[in-house]
Amino acid sequence: MSFVWRKRWFLLLFPLLLAASVWQIRVESDLNVFFTATDNEDSRLLSGLLKSGELSRRYLLVVENANGSNPGNEAVHDASSLSASAAMDAFSAKLVVKLAQIEGVENVWAANEPPREWIDAIRTYAPYYARLFSLNPRQDGSALFDPDKLGSRAEGLKQALLSPQGGFVKAIAKQDSLLLSLNGFKDMQNQFQRQANLNSGGGALILQSRPAALDSDAHLRLQAAIRASFDSLNQSAGEKFRLSMAGVPVFSVAAQTEISRDVTLVSVASSVAVTLVFLLLFRSFSALHWVMMVQAASFVLGTLATALVFGYVHSLTLALGASLIGICTDYPIHVMVHCAKHRHPPLDAVRLLWPSLAMGGLTTIIGYAALGLTGFPGFEQIAVFALFSIFASLALTRWVLPALLAKSTLHSAHLPGIAAWAGFCGRHRRGLLSLFATGVILAFFTLPQLRWMDDMQKLAMDMDQLKQQDEAVRSHFSSIEPGRFVLVQADDIETALRRSEAVERRLIMLKQTGILSEYHGLFPWLVSQDLQAENAKVYAQALTPQFQEAWRAGLVKADLSLDKLGRLPPPIAEPLRPETVLASPVRHILSGQIIEGQNGAVLAIWLGEHDPVKLAEGLAGLEGTRYFSQKDQLDQLAGQYRDRSLLMLAIGIAVMGLFILLQQRNIRKVVLTLLPSVASVLFIFAIWSLMGEEVSFLHVIGLLLSVSLCVDYGIFFMDNRGENSDVTYHGIAASTLTTLASFGALGLGKTPTLPILALSVSLGVTLGFLLCPLLIQKPTR
């Protein structure tokens, strides 16, 4: 095809591709998708909890007086504090009503009291009173069924019927005159009482949101709506109050905001830096605009292909993908350097360099493929993106760029110091090689001191201010820790319930010893058939004629109806089945504690403040039970990623070597081609060892990328297709500069991932570039 038609086709297809990508692509911003692997049961569980876990979707809201005084923190003794407390109550009540109307709010309630739905749900348990009154029926039965206490219990029932809760108690007493079903819920009442003591001034609210915790866009809108509702009410109240929020979604929105900022910053800085380097080298706006169009087309093709493979493109892929512009620009740059230096037409230069370009592209693709196999889910997408972008860039450089550059005038790209460094290496090769060999030996000795980063939190964004706010808000709540809980697993729900009841009995003991402040289990919302049968047996045994007579005497003494309350029927024959419970509104109450597992049932028991080590010890020996710490799980994942990254680094280098061997058919050349990049990796590890830098899997991944890029330099230097090593080294220098410009831009990001990658890649390519003329003897072709 003639140059004219190649150019026409490119100019026609490029806008069409652009339009297709705008039309087709769905950009995902859910961080969970990018950061959390789902390749094993625990990872899936962690991912699920982060994504849609009950506690992860929960906001903790605190309304306080704008002047800083909180009625809950003072003794309520005078009229003004009483009035302040009443004003806080009034404001909170109005806020609850207003917040409940917001789309995306599942439920909102004052933290001191159970939501109304819970009270209504408790009422439905009355018919099953004899089957779920106690977690330890044999132990509690003696006190619960003591005939001597029945008189006072009848009197208590009378008072309850006369109290403001009379309507609620009456509905239960008509089916459960001993109020046994309420006994099981005693702990829940105590939990709310503790919360009330902690937050006596009111103003603490819990808001259960609908969107998944890491759906940042939805939570951004929700948080804006919450603040707008608060502001409008507060304006009416004379700006007397202030609102603080905490919860996982607050962090996810902050992280998303930072990432969006990073995406924009990195994309713009990377593009500007590469453009400036390009202009500095070639001083041709015409060539710049054609090369940029080629890169833009490669970027669009990569994006489209990623969208087709995954169904979406993550915003972080686009951010990191922007750095690929610098890599893909390498191919046209090598062509243009040769055009400019040798005054070759672009087509001749492309034909001459094509084997090196293709092999360089292939090794870079291998590097990215290895990156995709490290197990970090976000990098799988980046690998696919890179594969298609690099492939497109290579193809466009080979078949389209010569047509586009046909009329462009290129100036000779001369970089000061390049020839001097190559010359210096040539003149002092022996001495420098000795120095290099010594360096390699010393580097090996430093490696055992390398410190690995095992705390994944260190890779998280710096959010100190948010963390302080989070702590301040959580001080108003009786704490349930969202990241640590007890997991109970079994093949079926009945076994899982039996095991979770055993865990709860153990947790009660741990509470008594002070190891645990509180916990939220499933009893009595869901009770195993075994425990129901045991409760029923204890109840039936207690139901002696003497007991029944004592109860009737108590009722008579309390002036209560013998007809309606005097008969104590045997336990209901049919047990309360999990499917019945989960078909009722109780499923909302337990939604965060019953986790869908691939292999049977998984139940979660939430924990309050606790000593992790002692608690884990306390649970030892319980079948199917383990203490789950989100942080430990993440740290374990970080370790897995690190090991896999190191493996992939080794495999990546080996595969690159294999392909180079296939092309060169000379093992010495293969070794020499790989040596600059491998040596630079070794030196960088040594530098980190000496500096005491904590090395994470991201550092390793950065080095993997640098190897895939540096190997290109080795290939070009070894091939030296223009038969002029100065020109070849200039081409390599130019591509190093663009790589540094694009990856250096990642260093501007606030997300720690980006500066780590920037540092690793920049160090790797710089060292690899400098080592090329030293380690690969000046070719003589």
Binding site: H77, D89, V97, L162, P164, Q165
Partner: protein
């Protein structure tokens, strides 16, 4: 019982006015400001009780709309309702409860309704209750019945009666399920001293 307490105090001034003017005027004028203390006798007929229950004590109404029922017999119990919150304190059983009215379900909704009476929002009453009044000589009766077709089937019927002595009134609240509460009330005091008592009892109920 609490529900009855509210009705009692809220409708007390209404009853007085009803005797003097027509219903329209009565509804336009129902608003009670100021502090007042009443002694009361209460008779409750509960579905689960074998005989009527009798109690007596004091009721106090504050200028801010708060109501306190201090039950003195058969045992001392304090029940408080402020604008947003209800408190319950039974010293003998050591039972102390507190609840936001907004979160108290049906009882909370009823109290909100009666608060609207105190604040003079008669339009809300007219949408849910039919009002009738009868006068026989010096005796009068005001009857409020839930409008048919309302979703709230548990809404009670309320009857307030009295005579020429404005300080004595009788209030009868009949629940839809057949339970009833009857109050005989005599105003015993009003003014700032009542506010002091209200604050003292409120603090006791809160637990300070």
């Amino acid at each position: 019982m609490k529900y009855g307490l509210w009705l009692l105090l809220v409708l007390w001034p209404m009853a007085r006015l009803a005797n003097e003017a027509g219903l329209a005027e009565l509804l336009g004028r129902i608003r009670y400001n100021g502090s007042a203390e009443f002694s009361y006798q209460e008779t409750r007929k509960l579905e689960l009780s074998s005989s009527p229950w009798n109690g007596r004590g004091m009721m106090l109404s504050g200028v801010d709309g708060s109501l306190i029922k201090l039950q003195l017999q058969p045992m001392r119990v304090i029940m408080v309702s402020t604008e947003q919150r209800m408190y319950y304190w039974d010293p003998e059983q050591q039972q102390r409860h507190s609840a936001l009215i907004a979160q108290a379900g049906a009882a909370g909704e009823e109290i909100t309704l009666f608060r609207s009476i105190i604040q003079g929002h008669t339009e809300r009453l007219q949408s849910t209750y039919n009002f009738t009044h009868q006068v026989h000589g010096k005796a009068w009766t005001l009857r409020m019945t839930p409008k048919p077709g309302l979703n709230d089937e548990s809404a009670p019927t309320i009857e307030i009666s009295g005579n020429e002595d404005d300080s004595k009134q009788q209030v009868l609240i009949r629940q839809a399920d057949g339970e009833s509460t009857e109050y005989l009330m005599v105003k015993t005091a009003e003014g700032p001293e009542v506010e002091k008592s209200i604050r003292r009892l409120l603090l006791e109920a809160i637990g300070d």
